[in-house]
Amino acid sequence: MRELELYFGPQHLGMVGNFSITLKVEGDKIIKADANPGYLHRGFEKLMEERTWMQNFPLVCRINVVEPDHMELIYSMGVEKLADIEVPERGKFLRSIYCEMARVNSHLFGLWAYSNMLGFDTVAHWAMYHRDLLLDRFEELTGGRVYHIYLRPGGVRRDFPEGFTTKLVETLHKIGGKVPDYNQTFFENSLFRKRAEGIGIVNLDEAKRMGAVGHILKANGVKYDIRKIEPYDAYDQVEFDIPTQTGADAYSRLLTIRDDMIESVHMIFKLIDKIPPEGDVYTKTPNPFKWTIPAGESYVRCESSRGELGLYIVSDGGEKPYRVHFNTPSYNHGLTVLEKALEGENIADVGNIMISLYVVAPEIDR
């Protein structure tokens, strides 16, 4: 049999964003895969050196379009670490509720992408509808559906409006009440099990060598979660568990995504009960037009819905950052782990493996 070179290019129904892979195939089996990122590269880290500290917020949230809230969180945490700013108590709880809402949002989008690619259109339409109900709550809180610039160094920008928490609880009950239907239609469906069991196995030894984090480790039974290792904001005042599975294939990764989403919904209910009734929601920062931060460097980490997100930030005492470097989870998953996980698989399973590794393309290119 001869070797053939195929381009699984950017315009494809099974592709996660604007990303392409060059495949060397022999018959129906893949021999070698070469990832080809760069279709969405804007040079963020260079652009952020030309704008002041507060002017960088609209740029920072466009790095990951599916989940912009954790990008704002990590940049705010970096600036707070450099400038030595503390967040007040009520602000911490509002931040955690906001980030958990973003996590549910992102998992519903991932469920749409996966079931649409497999062909289960019913579940895809349900997931997108429930995500839209949650986007209504975001719009009431911040004014925008997709890019909400709600966090700032020192807390959040404004308090919750009146009656927001009751409406949020209602929406989450609607989403949570549909989970038995999701289970019966999708997760316990024998067609889904046949298509996802045994596909794209990444076992623990390979995952650690290739720097994988997030659901790839959770599907192997390791509870690696920054919310427990280095708790930030209000995560040390609420009890929650990290769900894990033991198969290392695409099926286990999807099950951990579903369990993570259910755990986030329960966490929001517990956090709402514990919000301190009054207090400031942000600490005052100096005039943003003339704000200089003392020289230094820091490395901060948080847990986005895809894994461990880190930021290395350097300041030289001026009004603009000197060097900013985002360490996104999709960088390792989309470049190193994907090339290894695709060897020996069939061409028809490429989209399946790529979306179950939870890669999103703009995070790789920045």
């Binding site: 990122p37 260079k46 650690k208 690696y224 280095e230 060097r323």
Partner: protein, 174 residues
């Protein structure tokens, strides 16, 4: 953590260790001992390479490479085990003209895309790397784009500002 610092200071020379924050340590060293230091730390249990980054100190005429390692968990973490939360930041400096360095691919397997990106963005050549081709950029630049002497506005005006619209091109031809 203190015994690790004592061991490092006895086994290596030329290290400057300082504490950056409650769970962050910075080690500055000379460029010849990076590979040995990284494999030593990996044997001590720091087996996750988080990031390889680079700073451009144009006033000192030097590039500074930064490696950050941390600890994966073997089993369930305990709430009072401090070793799992430390991140070690290792820094070294190389000259800016003809920047060359050795690759750490033998120690950490996921260093490959980080070094490719630093090669195209900063112009550093890593000896021993199997494929130093373009990762994200589409063309070669005379000055690597992330260095401090690359002026983005001037580049944009030269390249994109000189392409005429269709109407202007029609009038120019006629």
């Amino acid at each position: 953590m203190d015994e690790l610092i004592k061991k490092l200071q006895t086994d290596f020379d030329g290290l400057e260790i300082s504490t950056l924050a409650k769970t962050r340590i910075t080690i500055s060293t000379k460029k010849e001992s990076i590979l040995l230091l990284l494999s030593y730390l990996k044997r001590m249990g720091y087996d996750h390479l988080a990031i390889i980054s680079c700073n451009d100190w144009i006033k000192d005429n030097e590039l500074e490479l930064v490696y950050i390692v941390s600890h994966y968990l073997e089993k369930d973490y305990g709430p009072d085990s401090e070793i799992d939360k430390f991140n070690i930041i290792i820094k070294t400096r190389i000259p800016r003209e003809k920047a060359r360095f050795v690759t750490v691919l033998d120690v950490f397997e996921n260093a490959e895309p980080y070094e490719r990106e630093l090669h195209e963005m900063f112009g550093i050549y890593f000896e021993g790397h199997p494929r130093l081709t373009l990762l994200m950029l589409e063309r070669n630049y005379k000055i690597p784009p992330f260095r401090k002497d690359f002026n983005t506005k001037k580049y944009v005006d030269d390249l994109y500002g000189n392409i005429p619209t269709i109407e202007e091109r029609k009038k120019g031809k006629k």
